[in-house]
Symmetry: C2
Subunit: 397 residues, 2 copies
C-alpha cells in the first residue's frame, strides 16, 4: 500500500485532499501539526489535544536529545509513551534549533558541534546522528538533517547551506535505509529498549522526508528540489521559510517550489504559519504544516478568531460573559467567559494559557477541517480566496 493517497484534487487550484499512512495510523491532509517541543504540547493533556482535532504532533529532536536525552526516552519506552500520544509523531532533525538556539562551535560539511542552550554542554549532530536519534525516539515521520539559513542571507552562505543540505540528505537516506534494513537496531538489547515500543513502531514503516532549502532564491530552490527529488524520499518538505522573508516572498517561493516536488508524495511547509499563509500554501499544493503560533500566542493571551485577533489582557474583556469565539466548540468556549480568561491571565493562573492554547489549536484544526471539506467539494479556490481576505489581519500581527 502506498503511504500517500490523494483522495480529491481541487479543479481550480493545486490544492489536494489526501491521506498519509503511518505506523501510528492515518493523517488526513492538508494537516496541521501542533508543536510538542520537549515531549509536550505546552500545558495540553493528550486527550484534550485529540479533542481539538489534532492528528499528528511535531516534536523537536534538538530539545529531546539534550533533555531528557535519547537513551532516557528509549528507556521510558519511546517518544509516544513519554508523550502519552498513540497517534503519529513527526520529529524535525534538530537542524533548525541548532542554528537558531545553540552556540555553534563548528559547522562544516561533516556536521555541527554546538553548546546546549540549557547548560552549555557540548553536543554533536550530523546526518547519521539525526537519523539515529529520530529512529530511536520512535518517530513516524523522520526529517533529513539540513542547514537552515535566516533571511535575508548572503548568497554564498545560502549556496553553501543548500549544497550541504543536499549532501546531508544523501547521507540521511543511506542511514535511514541501514536502520530500516536491520529492523531492530544492533544496539537495542544493550540499551534496554522496551520491546513494546518497537513492535508499535516498526522501523521499516518509518517515513523519511527530504527538505528543500534555497531561501527565496528561486534558481537555488529549483536546483535543490531537483537533487532532493532525485535522491528519493517518502515526502518532501520546503524548509527555510517563515524566517524573516515576509508573506509575499514566502508565498512566491512556495508557489514556485511546490510544483517541483512529486505530486504523488506529501509536501510539507515547515514552520508555517498564520492562517493566511496556510491557505495560500494549500492552494499551491502543500499538504502539511507545523507552527508554534496557536500555542505560543495562546500563552501570550492572543486568541485567533474568524472575526480577527483578540487580546485577552485588554480591559474591554473584563466583564465579558461571551466566549472567546462565538459558535466555537472548543473546551474554552464551551465553558469559560472572556472575563474569566482575562482574570486568569491577570492573576498568573495557568488556566489562562491552557484555555487559549486549546482554543487556538481548535481554531487551527477547524481551519484545516474546513480546507479538507472544501477541497472535497471542489470549491476550495473560491472559498479560500474569501477566507484569505477575511484573514488579511493575520499578516499585520
Amino acid at each position: 500500500m502506498p503511504h500517500f493517497r490523494i483522495l480529491n484534487a481541487d479543479p481550480h487550484s493545486s490544492a489536494r485532499r489526501g491521506v498519509i499512512e503511518t505506523a501510528h495510523g492515518p493523517v488526513q491532509t492538508p494537516a496541521f501539526m501542533p508543536v510538542g517541543t520537549a515531549g509536550a504540547v505546552k500545558g495540553i493533556l493528550p486527550s484534550l489535544l485529540q479533542e481539538t482535532g489534532t492528528q499528528i504532533i511535531l516534536a523537536n529532536t534538538y530539545h529531546l536529545m539534550l533533555r531528557p536525552g535519547v537513551e532516557a526516552v528509549e528507556r521510558i519506552g519511546g517518544l509516544h509513551r513519554l508523550m502519552a500520544w498513540d497517534r503519529p509523531i513527526l520529529t524535525d532533525s534538530g537542524g533548525y534549533q541548532v542554528f537558531s538556539l545553540s552556540s555553534l562551535t563548528r559547522i562544516d560539511d561533516e556536521g555541527v558541534e554546538f553548546s546546549s542552550h540549557i547548560d552549555g554542554a557540548r553536543a554533536h549532530l550530523n546526518a547519521e546522528i539525526a537519523i539515529d536519534i529520530q529512529s530511536r525516539l520512535g518517530a513516524d515521520i523522520i526529517m533529513c538533517f539540513d542547514e537552515c539559513t535566516a533571511l535575508p542571507a548572503d548568497p554564498t552562505r545560502l549556496e553553501t547551506a543548500t549544497r550541504r543540505t543536499i549532501e546531508w540528505a544523501k547521507r540521511c537516506k543511506a542511514a535511514h535505509r541501514a536502520i530500516s534494513d536491520c529492523g531492530f537496531r544492533i544496539a537495542d538489547s544493550s540499551r534496554g529498549v522496551n520491546p513494546q515500543s518497537e513492535i508499535r513502531n516498526p522501523q521499516s514503516n518509518r517515513l523519511l522526508f527530504g527538505i528543500v532549502q534555497g531561501g527565496t532564491d528561486l534558481e537555488l530552490r529549483r536546483r535543490c528540489a531537483e537533487q532532493i527529488v532525485e535522491i528519493g524520499f517518502d515526502g518532501y518538505a520546503i524548509g527555510g521559510l517563515s524566517v524573516g522573508e515576509g508573506h509575499g516572498n514566502m508565498v512566491r517561493t512556495v508557489e514556485f517550489t511546490a510544483p517541483l516536488l512529486p505530486a504523488d508524495h506529501p509536501r510539507y511547509l515547515m514552520g508555517v504559519g498564520m492562517p493566511v499563509d496556510i491557505l495560500a500554501a494549500v492552494r499551491a499544493g502543500v499538504d502539511m504544516f507545523d507552527c508554534v503560533l496557536p500555542t505560543r500566542n495562546g500563552r501570550n493571551a492572543f486568541a485567533f478568531t474568524e472575526q480577527g485577533p483578540l487580546r485577552l489582557r485588554n480591559s474591554v474583556h473584563g466583564d465579558s460573559t461571551e466566549p472567546v469565539e462565538s459558535g466555537c466548540d472548543c473546551y474554552s468556549c464551551r465553558h469559560f467567559t472572556r472575563g474569566a480568561i482575562r482574570h486568569f491571565f491577570n492573576s498568573g493562573e495557568m488556566l489562562g494559557p491552557i484555555l487559549l492554547s486549546l482554543h487556538n489549536l481548535r481554531f487551527y484544526q477547524r481551519l484545516m477541517s474546513n480546507i479538507r471539506e472544501h477541497i472535497e467539494r471542489g470549491d476550495f479556490a473560491t472559498w479560500a480566496a474569501g477566507q484569505m481576505d477575511q484573514y488579511a489581519w493575520t499578516d499585520n500581527q
Copy 2:
C-alpha cells in the same frame, strides 16, 4: 428538608457519614475541598477536577475581592460561571489571608484595614462586608469573618481574637439574615447582575457557617464553641489550626472541640491537612476539610501515594516506566510514566505540575471515598488506625 443528614455513624468512633444539601447539589461527607484560590484550582480544568471525585471547591474571598473584584465577578455572572463549576462552592471569609498575606494597617473591633499584597491598594473588611461579598460571589456555603492567630500566640492576643470572632459571628449572622430576607439584594439591578446566576443561587438557600477559634487553649475553645453554637449556624468550623501547632496539638484540640459542636450540623476543620490529620479528625467527628497540599505539593513535584511520598525531581525516576502510583486510576497514572513526569518538571513544562496536581487530588478524593465507605460498613475505626500507621510518614514531610 434539613440541609444536613447523617446516613451512618461509626459504632467505634465519632466518625459520621452524611450529606450536605446546597443550592448546587449535595456534598457527600466526609468531604475534601480542593482550593481554588483566585477562581481556579491551579492548572486544573473543571471536567478533570470533577473526574478526581471533587464535589465542592473552596474559593478565597480575599483573593477574589482584590482581583478581579466582586463587581467584576457579578458582571461575569457569579463565581460558578467564572470558574465554570456548577457544583457547590464554599468561600472563606477573607480573614485568614488578611492576617497572613496583606499588610494590616488597622485592626479593631470594627474590622480590619489592610494593603493588598498585589498592588498595595487599601481595602477594608469586616463582618458585614465579608458576608456581602460572599453572597455576591454566589457561594453555596459562606463563612463568618473571624480573626485567625498564628500559633504559638500570646494569651491576651488569643483571647482578644476569640472575643472578636464571637462578636463578628453575631454581626455575620445578622448580615446574612438581612440578605437572605431580601431575596434579591437592593443594589442588584444597578450592578447589572446576570439574573441567571441569581436564579441558580437562590440567596435563601445559602448556608452560613460559624467558626470556633481559641488556638490550642481548650478552655478558650470551649467558651468560644458555646457562644458560637448559641448564636446558631448551618454548620460549624474549627479554625485557627494547622498554623504551627503540630499534629499532636491539632488532634488534641479537634478531639476536644468537635464534640462541643451540634452533632446534627456539619463540622468543618479549616485548612487541614495531611492524610493522617484528616483520618484523625474524621474519627473525632469532622465532616469537611480543605487544604492546598495536594495542589501545592503537586506543583512542587511531590506526589502522595499509599506507599509514601514520591519526589518526582529525583533522578531515580528518570528512566521509570511506572505510573506515579501503581493501581491509581487518575489521569496521570493512566497515561504517563514517572520518567515522563520527571522530564516535564526538569524542562519547566506545565504538564508536570498539572499531572501531579491531578494525581494528588485523586489521591485525596480516593482517601475520602474510602473513609465514607468504611464508615458505611461500620469498620472505620479499625481501618483508620491501620491507615494512620501507614500514613505516619506524612507527618515527617
